[in-house]
Symmetry: C2
């Protein structure tokens, strides 16, 4: 590991490659998600955010998840998920169910209409991912991209309690 022991005190700047990689992450991500959202929106009137809810539900047992569980997968706060689900419930794509074993909790469950909508949206979304993420990359680049991003993610799983101090 390339560890500068004085890093806590001395600012070590970013070299060119580091700067480029970091900025590319921010910029490419923003443009990519905007494009994928636009394509779903303009073809089916559906947001990428709502699509993601249906994707996660479709992968769950019984196509239903506890609110807290779904919120974690979507990286949303509880309040945020409640409000996002309201829209999906009004559209009839998802329904709430009481949890029989813990009546504080509730399930978000995909409806048949939600499944049909997901099946209509998935080809459009996947085509976008292929077009903008898969096709521009070599197979090697794709593999390393995934590896690198999972390594970054792994370094972030610790809870946010405080900024790392010099100790």
């Amino acid at each position: 590991v390339n560890f500068d022991a004085s890093a806590a005190q001395d600012v070590v700047w970013l070299n060119h490659d580091q700067q480029q990689a970091w900025r590319a992450l921010v910029e490419a991500h923003a443009r990519l998600l905007a494009r994928l959202d636009f394509e779903l929106q303009s073809s089916l009137g559906m947001s990428l955010a709502d699509y993601q809810v249906l994707v996660h539900l479709s992968e769950a047992d019984g196509q239903a998840l506890r609110m807290a569980d779904l919120a974690e997968r979507l990286q949303l706060t509880p309040g945020g998920l409640t409000r996002r689900l309201n829209g999906l419930v009004e559209l009839g794509l998802v329904e709430r169910r009481v949890c029989p074993e813990d009546r504080r909790g509730s399930f978000a469950a995909m409806t048949p209409s939600g499944l049909a909508t997901l099946e209509a949206a998935a080809p459009i979304h996947v085509a976008g991912v292929r077009r903008y993420v898969i096709e521009p990359l070599t197979n090697d680049q794709l593999l390393t991209l995934g590896e690198a991003l999972r390594a970054i993610d792994a370094g972030l799983v610790s809870p946010i309690d405080a900024a790392p101090g010099p100790g």
Copy 2:
């Protein structure tokens, strides 16, 4: 859930590696930016969004940029930039200047206080980028990550006019 191929004639699904890379991009990015924002917020009371404004201004000639130019670099709409700048102006970190050559336009210019704030924030931000992006990766991974993301970005520069048709 497995979708019937008849639901989408020419849809080529994503294989495991493709799926992993795409999801890692979304999830790692979200966690990373949340963390970097949190660290700036908790140490200096500054948002990552405001920090980005100062960074772009600091790199410009005269440490000032036209609003439209700055909006494009930040991937913001004109209205969004106007509102973000309001906050920075109230804090005294940025000021508006009339453009002498085209009085429709205006400049966003960094103030001395803005520069001082940027210089205080930069070490914190850079330390976060190093900690969460640079250090978890090998040098080779970092280089390929940057290459791959720039390739993705390059495929997205075309204007958003319509969803790509079957052609």
